[in-house]
Structure formats: C-alpha cells, structure tokens
C-alpha cells in the first residue's frame, strides 16, 4: 500500500467507519446512562429555578473561588489545551474545507499563523499536563493506563496535524494519512474512554446544577 492509497483509505472508508463507530458508541453510552433514570425529587424546592442546570453547564467552566490559586497549572494548561483544540478543530482552513466537503457548510478560517501558534500552545499544554500527571501526588495516584492512553491519543492528531501542515518529518501524503488515522483512533476511542467526558459533561454539570438549585444554591 502506497502512502497515497493509505491516504485515500483513511479519507474515505476509514473516516466513514470511524464516524459511524463514534456515533454508535455515543448513542450506546448515552442509552446506558439515561436508561438508569432519575427518581423525581419529592422535596419541594426552595425556589423555582428554571434553567439552573444549563447555568451550571456554563458556569462550571470557570474556577470556583479559591481554586485557581490552589491549582494554577491545571487551570491554565487545561484552558489552553481545550481552547486550542477547539479553535484548531473548527477554525483552521483545512478543517473547514473538510466540513464543507462533508456537510456543505463553510465559515471563515483563522489566519494560519494563528492556528499554528494555537497548535503549539495546545501541544505544550498537553506536555505540561503530562508532566503534572506524573509528578503531582494526587494526579499520579489517580492515574492508570487509560489516563496515559487517552493523553497519547489526544496528542497524536495535534502533532501529526502540525507536522503535516509544515511538511516536516515525513512526506506530506503519508503524514496527512497518519493525521487522519490518528483522528479516527481518537473518534473510535472517544465513547469508550474518559474522552467521553466531552459528551457526558453536559449531563453531569446539568444534574449538579439542577440538584443544587433546588436547595437554593448556585453551584
């Protein structure tokens, strides 16, 4: 198989399968979760608080009082990584072209030097988070195989994407193929690892905000 054939497979069949498995996995995981149900709370709420779950979905993105000072590295690197990843994913010219080809939708891209910088920032943030995971007593204590696996699977698309864009290390078609394959690995693993937090976080934060608000506490 030549690099070009690999690229063709990755772009076509491979991507199709990866997206299908990812979607099916998400549906399965959500069904597993939601089918467990939630008993109605019979205690009358302190105040009616419509939208409280959604408020917490957003407000939990900010560090609660006192927390930033205790764990600045987690917050800074965490923000930079997540924001960098989201910006690159949705606002780089190459990705927008892909979305256009897939769904017929397009929007303006960020200038490529900015996307480049964000990729580097996201990569460096991930490295910092790895060092922190290996050295912080709590993080090291909690970490297992999956924490390192998901770290690597998240780094690969960023790294290969950066290398492909700059025609570094390997020929462009091969590096691009590896980039797409690494994204496909990420997609397939997403529903079945802690990467699923990208979906479940909307539920967990919502449940938290809803429960606290019934007691009159903004969480």
């Amino acid at each position: 198989m030549t690099p070009l054939q690999l690229l063709t497979w990755a772009r076509g069949t491979g991507l199709g399968w990866a997206l299908a498995l990812c979607a099916a996995g998400i549906v399965l995981r959500l069904a597993e979760m939601l089918s467990l149900g939630r008993a109605a709370d019979l205690a009358p709420p302190r105040a009616r608080s419509p939208g409280s779950g959604w408020r917490t979905v957003f407000s939990r993105s900010l560090p609660p009082p006192g927390m930033f000072r205790r764990e600045p590295v987690s917050y800074i690197a965490g923000y930079l990584f997540h924001l960098g990843l989201l910006f690159i994913l949705f606002l780089s010219a190459a990705h927008i072209e892909l979305f256009h080809a897939l769904w017929g939708l397009a929007w303006p891209a960020l200038p490529s030097p900015l996307v480049d910088a964000m990729a580097l920032v996201a990569i460096v943030s991930l490295l910092v988070l790895l060092v922190q995971r290996l050295t912080h007593p709590v993080k090291r204590f909690l970490s297992g195989f999956q924490d390192y696996l998901t770290w690597a699977v998240t780094l690969l698309p960023l790294l290969t994407g950066y290398l492909a864009t700059h025609h570094l290390l390997l020929d462009y078609p091969l590096m691009l193929a590896l980039h797409i394959l690494s994204v496909e690995l990420l997609l397939v693993l997403l529903p079945f690892t802690k990467l699923f937090h990208s979906v479940s976080v909307f539920f967990s934060r919502w449940y938290n905000g809803d429960a606290f608000a019934r007691k009159g506490v903004a969480s």
Binding site: R38, A43, G66, F141
Partner: protein
C-alpha cells in the same frame, strides 16, 4: 460471595442512577476534588481524594451498567469488588468524608461527589462495613428514639428546668400548633438553653408551638450510616407526629444533617410530599423578623464570626438568614474566608463525630477551621448546628484556643426586646 457482600453489591446497583452514571462517565482524573477536601488539604495524603473514595462503586457501575465494563470483566481486565476491598474503603467512605459537599462545588465536570458518597454508604452499611460507632448510634436511635440514648424523661427534666428559668410554657402534644419543634440529642444534653430560647422567641412572636413526646429527636443516624430503611423509620416518626398534631410547620433544630434528613431527604424517604412545611430554625427566625414579629434590642459588641454548617449553607441554601440576623445583633460581625456556600467543614459532620475510629483524623481536619479562625483573630464563633458546636468546642480545647462558641438562636433570644421596648 458472602451474603453480606451480595447485599452490599445489590445496594450499590440500586443507588446507581443516570446522574451517578454521568458523574463516573465524566471524571477525567484531574484530582481537583482533592484540593476542595479538608481531609486532603490538611493531611496531604492522596488517598483522601474524593473520587478515589468512590472506586468500588465506580467498578460496580462499570461492570454492571456498561458494555465495555462487562467486556473488561469477561477478559479478566477488571476484578469484582471484594469484601476485603470494602473493608479497606470503610475508613475512606466514613472517616474521611463529612458529606460537606465542597468537592461537588469545584469538580470541573460537575460531579456531585457528596451525593455519590451518601449513596455509596448504602452499600457499605448493607455489606457490614459501617463503623461501629455509627452502627451503635443508629441502633440506639431506632430503639430509644435518640442516637445518644436520650429518653423523653431527660427532655422532660429540661423542660421543667427551662420553664422555671425563663418563665415560659413548653407545650407538649398541642394539636393545631403552628410549629412542631424538634431537638437534637446534643441540644438536650449540652445546650438545653436552645429550648428556652425557642420558647422565649415564640412567646414574643405570639406563635403557637409544641413538642411531641414521641418525636422530639431530629437527628437521623440512618442518613449518616447510609441505611435508607432506618432513615425512613426515623423520619416517619416525625411525620406521624406532625400529621397527628396537624402542625403547619416542623422546625429543624440547630443541626445540619437533621435539616437535610427532614427537609430534603424526608419526602423522598417516605415516598410522598409532606402535608406540612419543614424549616430550619434560622429560616423561622428570619421570617418572624421580616414579619415584624421578632423585635431585637441591644447588640453583642465583641468581634465575632459565623461558621456555616455545611448542610445548612452549601447543602441546604440557608445562607442569608444567619447573616441578616447577625448584622442586626453584632456590629463587629466579620466573615471568615470562604464563607457561605464555599465554607470549610468543622471536620465532624456526616457521622464522623459519632465514629470514634475517626477521632484523630477529625482533629487534623479541624486545622483548616483553626487557620480560618486565627486568620480573623476573633474570640467568638457563632454557628447554628449543635454538632458543629460540639466538634469545634472539643477541637478548640484540644488546640488550647481561647475561642467561645455560641448558638445563633440563643444569641437572638438573649436580645429580645421586652414588651414595649425596641
């Protein structure tokens, strides 16, 4: 598998619902919950990380309710939860968690870890891994009505004493009263002045109230140990009395978890909404004040602060009421750092103070509160939970700190305007 372990695992399976599944699904092992937990911050031991305390429950969730977990189990990649493991987790789930809820406020993915631990205790107690102190207290509560074994005759003696001292009437079993007043064993034994305070306040406010001789105890060990059937039995006694006496409102005393037990868990334990309201005494005081039925006079001028009982503020939403009262009564009232819904626990909530095995750890956890009080430099701390008060009085003594604890209801009662004054 032993019968008790099977009971425990079944209880784990029963408590896992969609929120719990979403919480376990969302955890990314960031460890930030540890930074919110005083058992970690004061010891530096990572085993006290809140999410780690839930590991056996997480595995049951994964193995029972996810396809990947079932696969992992088949391939030998994950072990079943064992009795030895639960025994090892006992101290993590009971000794090093006061159900204070701080971790649930900071988790970036929104995990309500406190509710998870409350639920995990259901399986721990079913499997026979609850600490002895709590088992004994719960058994005593079921048998005698009080976890400390306080009987009605003891309370009767306090009633006579309070009636004589404060010239009040303490009605018992009065039908149709506005308020059914509950006590905690701590108050009956250590702070009977609470009863006198309530009597004086209601007398001034012209409110009708009563005690019930078959339901005077508000605390609920069933909640702390994690035995919903026993918790239901204890709440049920109060519900029966409140409905028999046709009261409008049941008043939870100055006790944090008693409030949680009756106000928030109560209707869910009974499986139906109540026909009466449930309020914490501070809510009642604040309402009387707003209605102009509580007239205060004079102030306590020493610098003082307020310790938020976790179950009252963070887990109960009673945050503003004590502050409104204190601003009126204490011109030198200062807030502690992290006051309100981000307060730090006294170290003895959630059954920890009833668990002798946890005593030393509880004193270590108190170092956080100690630092907060010292930072402020006050010599008087007001609170509204008899358990916080007992725990803190003991710890203050232990650390040779010259700080006095006061109950807010008593403070209010001491500043009631006489008739015609204001």
């Amino acid at each position: 598998m032993s019968a008790s372990l099977r009971r425990g695992i079944n209880a784990f399976k029963e408590v896992i619902d969609a929120p719990i599944a979403s919480f376990f699904s969302s955890c990314v092992h960031c460890g930030l919950c540890a930074e919110a937990c005083l058992f970690y911050t004061e010891t530096g031991d990572p085993k006290y990380t809140p999410i780690h305390k839930l590991e056996p429950l997480r595995r049951v969730w994964e193995q029972e309710y996810t396809v990947t977990g079932k696969l992992k189990r088949l391939l030998g990649l994950s072990r079943a939860v064992s009795d030895e493991e639960l025994a090892e987790w006992g101290p993590l789930v009971y000794d090093s968690c006061t159900l204070c809820g701080r971790c649930a406020m900071v988790c970036p993915v929104g995990n309500d870890l406190t509710t998870m631990i409350r639920k995990m205790r259901e399986g721990m107690s079913a499997a026979g891994h609850a600490p002895e102190g709590l088992v004994t207290a719960t058994a005593r509560a079921i048998q005698t009505g009080s976890p400390a074994g306080v009987k009605w005759v003891t309370l009767q003696a306090q009633i006579r004493h309070m009636q004589a001292e404060f010239d009040i009437e303490v009605p018992v079993n009065r039908e149709g009263a506005d308020y059914l007043v509950l006590m905690s064993s701590w108050e009956i034994l250590n702070y009977p002045e609470y009863l006198g305070a309530v009597g004086r306040i209601f007398k001034q406010a012209g409110a009708t109230w009563t005690l019930a001789d078959d339901a005077y105890e508000a605390t609920n060990s069933g909640i702390q140990i994690g035995a919903s059937d026993l918790a239901r039995e204890l709440v049920g006694r109060i519900v029966t009395a409140a409905e028999r006496l046709k009261v409008k409102c049941v008043v939870s005393p100055e006790c944090g978890h008693a409030y949680t037990a009756i106000r928030w868990e109560g209707p869910n334990l009974m499986g139906r909404p109540f026909t009466f309201e449930v309020k914490h005494i501070l809510e009642v005081l604040d309402e009387l004040r707003r209605d102009g039925r509580l007239k205060l006079r004079g102030t306590l001028d020493v610098p003082l602060t307020y310790h938020d009982p976790c179950q009252l503020s963070r887990r109960g939403g009673v945050v503003e009421q004590p502050r409104t009262l204190l601003h009126e009564l204490a011109p030198n009232f200062k807030e502690m750092s992290d006051a309100g819904t981000m307060n730090w626990c006294c170290g003895g909530g959630g059954g920890v103070s009833a668990n002798e095995r946890a005593h030393e750890l509880q004193l270590t956890a108190f170092l956080r509160k100690k630092a907060q009080i010292e930072e402020l430099g006050v010599k008087t701390v007001v609170t509204a939970c008899a358990n916080c008060r007992v725990v803190m009085e003991e710890a203050l003594e232990h650390y040779h700190m010259d700080v006095e604890m006061l109950g807010l209801t008593e403070l209010v009662a001491e500043h009631l305007a006489e008739d015609g004054q204001s």
